[in-house]
């Protein structure tokens, strides 16, 4: 007996295994942009992962210091190209708080409608890309683009651009929405509802998809909070936190809607939270449309060049991926002294290591997809 035992241990000593260093990215279709992960893999299991960011750094924050408040809007669009309305919103609201500007009612409702629609289009993009990550190539991606296209066409009719809207201004919105705006939004909502139903029946109950996502990459509520996650990725772990409800900005306190939370904090919950959140967004937009009344969209006395008194402000809003905050310091004058963006994606990305270690390599891609990063926002 003793002999046999020693034999086996000798044998295992002969099989010396070596961890493999696996480089994913920066140019890789599954990293959603220019993002690089160096994974140490032991067979199929990930032992360590080091994320490298910064490939898309353009210095938007620094550039904002040289731009007056109107010029900075264009750069904010580019920090978050999938939900540019939401990015603009945080910026202009920070400027408004500094300059103590009153935003007219109509402008607030327009902003709210556009931000929620932008959340829809951004989540559609997530669903499509996530489908590809889990290996359902093609179908969900094309469905997502179809729905997103309808939304983007609407944004183009309103603002003139498909992605970089530059439509919000400190004090309101640049110009009024088209005359047929309300009808167009209703149309788009119908097609979006159908799109969500498509996704629901395509993925949410699909056994293969469930096997790929349930129980993978879960994170507890305490750890998620500790790592600074926010948005749907945090709510999937069961944390009931939504800035739209907890610190209502715009008119969210006049609207009746629910905050969606998950239970397990795994990949599936992060996916499903977003699907349910899209239905809530539709609910919000429908109510907003009823409140939309004619009126001014910019304050009457708006100087040609906006100047703010000295001060500092941190303003956060709930962007599709989480808390998008802008910290702005002004020393007087027409440009910020410092403009810092609190990026939701960068904070959510902190959880990557904790989520991925111990999982399979194939699941690492699914996990990365499930926290829905936009690299332009991570790197700014």
């Amino acid at each position: 007996m003793v002999e046999v035992l020693s034999q086996t241990s000798d044998q295992s000593a002969e099989f010396e295994t070596q961890d493999l260093l696996l480089n994913v990215g920066p140019q890789h279709p599954s990293t959603h942009g220019v993002f690089r992960m160096v994974m140490t893999v032991d067979g199929e299991v990930v032992r360590d992962v080091i994320p490298y960011i910064g490939y898309l750094h353009r210095g938007a924050e620094k550039l904002c210091e040289t731009m007056d408040f109107r010029q900075g809007i264009g750069f904010m669009d580019r920090t978050e190209y999938l939900a540019a309305f939401n990015a603009e919103l945080s910026y202009v609201m920070a400027v408004e708080a500094l300059a103590d500007l009153e935003v007219p009612e109509r402008a607030q409702w327009i902003r709210m409608i556009l931000c929620e629609l932008n959340r829809l289009s951004s989540h559609f993009m997530f669903l499509g890309a996530f489908g590809v990550d889990t290996g359902v190539f093609g179908t969900p991606f094309i469905y997502a683009w179809r729905e997103r296209e309808a939304l983007i066409d609407l944004f183009e009719e309103v603002s003139g651009d498909r992605m970089m809207y530059a439509y919000f201004r400190p004090g309101g919105v640049a110009w009024d929405v088209p005359v047929n705006f309300v009808d167009r939004v209703r149309e788009v909502l119908i097609s979006a509802t159908q799109g969500i139903n498509d996704f629901d029946s395509l993925l949410s109950e699909n056994e293969i998809f469930l096997a790929r996502t349930q129980g993978v990459g879960s994170i507890s509520a305490t750890r998620a909070i500790a790592l600074g996650m926010s948005g749907p990725s945090l709510r999937a772990s069961g944390v009931d936190m939504d800035i739209r409800r907890d610190e209502p900005y715009l008119k969210y306190d006049q609207i009746d809607w629910d905050v969606i939370t998950g239970e397990h904090g795994d990949v599936f919950d992060r996916y499903y939270c977003r699907v349910l959140e899209m239905r809530e967004s539709i609910k919000i937009v429908k109510q907003c449309l009823e409140h939309l009344a004619p009126g001014p969209i910019l304050p009457e006395k708006l100087p040609r060049m906006l100047r703010t008194p000295p001060g500092e402000v941190y303003l956060r809003t709930e962007a599709p991926r989480g808390e998008y905050g802008v910290y702005m310091v002004s020393k007087g004058g027409n440009r910020p002294y410092r403009c810092k963006v609190r990026s939701s994606c960068l904070s959510n990305l902190q959880a990557l290591q904790e989520l991925t270690i111990g999982e399979y390599v194939a699941d690492a891609i699914v996990i990365l997809g499930s926290i829905d990063i936009v690299l332009s926002e991570v790197d700014r």
């Binding site: 183009e156 640049a174 498509d198 056994e207 998809f209």
Partner: protein, 173 residues
Amino acid sequence: MRGIAKSMARTFAVFLRKPVTRDYPTYHKPIPERDRAFPLLLWDEDIHEPFCTGCHACERACPVECMTVLMKDNPNHKNLDGTSSRRKIIDKFWIDYARCMRCNICVEVCNFDAIAMNNTWEGHEISVYDRQDLVMDLPQLLSQSRTGNINEWVPVLGQTNETMSETDAEVSN
């Protein structure tokens, strides 16, 4: 299995829907009036000269500094037995389309409604092999407006649909 059958059924149902795609190069989707491609200069049909007076307002306001403006005395001014009321006029104008970020600021700051964002397909379908070819000079910037190939939309900041229709009514009165 039920879930998979359901997704198959949905795929099939979508397959039977009307396609949303269009043949792009042969069919050009109508684009909205507000569409923003790149800025171009407008041509005053009545006195056959550009609206632009070379006042540098847009050049100063451009966040990426992609414009270069040079002004000159207008040889067609009334004092010189011309027909124009513009004392100064644009001499040379360059816009580097490669740098422009299509932010619409130049249109907003122009006091003479002399510049507009291109809202036609020509503005979107620019392909060149050399980056230098994207630096547009004055004739290139004016050519589309000169041939009447554009129905520009020049927004006024803060104008609402009500005030817009009011001014329209005034004009028709």
